[in-house]
């Protein structure tokens, strides 16, 4: 019996292996005149008006092209990542999707995307900001098109500062003093310092400091930089802040925990983009009038404005697509002025335009939240201009994906605050660990 089973097993094994080895021929060009076919769109707008917008954009496209069917799927970012990494094995990927800049780099690396130069030219190449476009560009092929942008700025509570007679801090030292003065746990924390290994918040915070000193976490030749003077200063700074003004549990906080604390009115300061407004509005409507944004603190007030962290969320078209021409046409349709502005307005002040002309368009600016937070929008727009994704200051790199996904920096912070590892030692260890991981990329 054993023998038979083994033969059966081998048979199945070989069947499966041949089945996987086969590459589908996907060059199924549609006829030149009319679009005909079904495409799948994955996006990560899991809630509210943005989600509805994507559906209505698809509906409008299908109405215009009656033979086209668009299937929309919504996944939160972590699910999204799990799904495409597993799906790429089996060909289970969408035709069009949103992506994060790091995903784009990885996807280009495994040759999963098609260049979208023609789509960009159709929309108008010079209408785009240059930097976001570069994040998905390899050898003049544009593999991604920025859909919207946002940037990290400092959020504070006007009422709390006023009550205490304090100014909006402009330097890191001032921020520390102010946060410490306001700190009154457990009802109010000055500023929470998130270090959870579930995502990259501590990397983000360290990057704020390092960038403000004019340095980067990744050197030009793609090595980790955690041991330069400003990196060590930055680590020390956040450790100090954690000890003085942050809830103890923030050592485990991820992005949602961190934001939630501010949304609930339990922290005086936070860093976020314009998405902060919607969060506060939903959780604590009474606080909306009390929040505002300010530029990122610097080391000295007189330092130049270095760009900090900008997130440009792009759309991509997948190589696996049977109907790339439909996919591209759908992507292009998202940028038609009225629809595009409607899309941006679905998270007012949160999503800023990727097109220069729209940013100044009265139709875009004429929105209650954008007007109410005009100061914040101005500050975020200025920050968007100068910043890049973490680790992409010198152009797209796979290393930036490692630095933000492997929680090495988060664990370094945890080691320091929980296990009292000396800062220099922890930084050296983390730097080495990151560089080892970078080496694995070429395996």
């Amino acid at each position: 019996m054993n023998k038979k089973l083994f033969v059966l097993f081998l048979l199945i094994l070989s069947l499966v292996i041949t089945a996987c080895g086969k590459e589908d021929d996907t060059s199924n060009q549609g006829s030149s005149g009319e679009f005909d076919g079904e495409i799948t769109v994955w996006h990560s707008f899991t809630q509210g008006p943005r989600m509805e917008f994507m559906q209505s954009a698809a509906d409008a496209f299908m109405e215009e092209h009656p033979k086209v069917k668009i299937k929309i799927e919504t996944f939160a970012w972590p699910e999204f990542y799990t799904k495409w990494t597993t799906g790429i094995q089996s060909g289970q990927v969408p035709d069009v999707s949103t992506a994060l800049p790091n995903h784009v780099v990885e996807l280009i690396d495994v040759d999963a995307l098609v260049p979208l130069n023609d789509v960009i030219d159709n929309i108008g190449r010079d209408r785009f900001y240059e930097a976001p476009l570069q994040e998905g560009t390899i050898d003049s092929d544009n593999f991604s098109i920025p859909l919207y942008s946002h940037a990290q700025v400092m959020w504070y509570r006007k009422d709390l500062l006023e009550e205490a007679g304090l100014e909006v801090p402009k330097t890191w030292e001032e921020l520390f003093e102010t946060a410490k003065a306001l700190n009154n746990p457990p009802n109010l924390y000055g500023l929470s310092v998130p270090m959870g290994s579930g995502d990259m918040m501590a990397t983000r915070f360290l990057n704020f400091y390092v960038r403000s000193a004019g340095e980067t976490l990744l050197t030009e030749d793609g090595k980790a930089n955690l041991t330069s003077k400003s990196a060590i200063d930055g680590i020390n700074y956040w450790v100090k802040m954690y000890n003085e003004t942050s809830p103890e549990g923030s050592v485990n906080y991820t992005v949602l925990d961190q934001a939630n604390l501010y949304y609930q009115g339990k922290s005086a300061f936070d860093f976020n983009s314009g998405f902060q407004i919607g969060g506060v509005e939903t959780n604590s409507p009474q606080l909306v009038d009390q929040i505002d944004a300010a530029p990122m603190p610097k080391i000295n007030e007189s330092d130049p404005d270095n760009g900090i962290e900008t997130s440009n969320i792009p759309v991509v078209v997948w190589k696996n697509s049977k109907h790339p021409e439909i996919a591209k046409a759908f992507v292009e349709s998202l940028y038609e002025k009225e629809e595009y502005i409607e899309f941006l307005h679905s998270v007012p002040a949160g999503m800023l335009p990727a097109l220069k002309d729209i940013a100044e368009d009265p139709m875009f600016l004429d929105e209650p939240t954008i007007q109410k937070f005009d100061n914040a929008v101005k500050i975020i727009s200025e920050a968007v201009d100068k910043g890049t994704a973490i680790g992409m200051e010198n152009g797209p790199s796979l290393q930036s994906g490692i630095i933000t996904s492997q929680s090495v920096i988060e664990k370094m912070f945890q080691d320091i605050v929980l296990n009292s590892v000396p800062v220099e030692e922890a930084a050296e260890k983390a730097e080495k660990e990151l560089n080892d991981l970078f080496d694995m990329l070429s395996r």
Binding site: L15, Q47, E79, G87, S90, Q92
Partner: protein, 276 residues
């Protein structure tokens, strides 16, 4: 012994009461939190009963997040997986007990070893299998993967139940001229019916709770089972404990009710004979 009994019985009740409180507390806390306003959840972490009761989260979860669709999907998937599991496992368990009693002992060990592989690492081979037979993004594909963990356990439980069937009554049926299949269906099955119900419900709950394979194998949201929908809440842009608690309640209530129904039967497989 009788004299000391009062005190020790009282202490036993105290011990059980403490255990019961710890066991039930999370459920009660979920239930209470799911009907509190968000301000109350954040600002009065110690207040037990809600100051004002709101069912807003439930309506949001069921309507806006379309949990009703997910519930329907889960019912369908779990029900199919359970039926197939029970049919295949009853046949298998009966076959082992009646026809290969010696091999049966080894078989139980093999069945146990099948659990030695972490499910997370089965994900890639499974997605390859499911794709190669063209069943990706289908409920059929998901049901097939569910069989991988439900069948070994179900066989294992059912072996125990079938061993309680006295061989004499089957022999009596044989004398009456019943075939093997008929003996199985008309004599053995009725005896183990309660055990089968328990196994079925246990399988149902396990498949109802499963989330990893569902996440990886189902791509369209209208086909997602409820556990994935629940997980998705953690990835949403705004963390809403109220919604999470209401959704948890919806997922967990059927399991708890089922468990209460089967609790008498569930242990049968282990103690009634599989080991003897």
């Amino acid at each position: 012994m009788v004299g000391r009994n009062k005190l020790s019985t009282a202490l036993t009740y105290v011990y059980l009461t403490i255990l019961a409180i710890v066991s039930v507390f999370p459920l009660i806390w979920i239930a209470l939190s799911s009907i509190k306003s968000s301000g109350e959840m954040a600002n009065y972490p110690l207040s037990f009963f809600p100051k004002e009761v709101t069912f807003e989260y439930y309506t949001r979860v069921l309507n806006d997040l379309s949990f009703t669709v997910n519930i329907k999907n889960s019912l369908l998937v779990s029900f199919s997986a359970t039926v197939i599991t029970i049919v295949v496992s009853s046949l298998g368990a009966y076959g082992i007990v009646r026809f290969f009693p010696k091999a049966g002992k080894k078989m139980t060990k093999v069945l146990i070893t099948t659990y030695m592989f972490p499910p997370i690492l089965l994900a890639v081979p499974y997605s390859i299998i499911i794709v190669s037979i063209g069943l990706v993004n289908t409920w059929t594909g998901l049901v097939i993967t569910y069989l991988s963990f439900s069948i070994p356990y179900a066989i294992w439980m059912l072996i125990g139940f079938f061993q309680t069937v006295p061989i004499e009554i089957e022999e009596a049926a044989k004398v009456d001229g019943a075939g093997k299949m008929r003996t199985f269906l008309q004599v053995a099955l009725p005896v183990v019916a309660p055990g089968m119900v328990a196994t079925a419900i246990y399988t149902f709950i396990n498949t109802w709770n499963e989330f990893l394979f569902a996440l990886l194998l189902i791509n369209s949201s209208e086909k997602m089972p409820i556990s994935v929908a629940l997980y998705s809440l953690t990835g949403s842009e705004i963390l809403d404990w109220g919604e999470m608690m209401a959704a948890s309640m919806i997922v967990i209530l059927p399991s708890i009710i089922f468990f209460m129904i089967i609790q008498n039967k569930i242990a049968g497989g282990l103690s009634d004979g599989s080991v003897k």
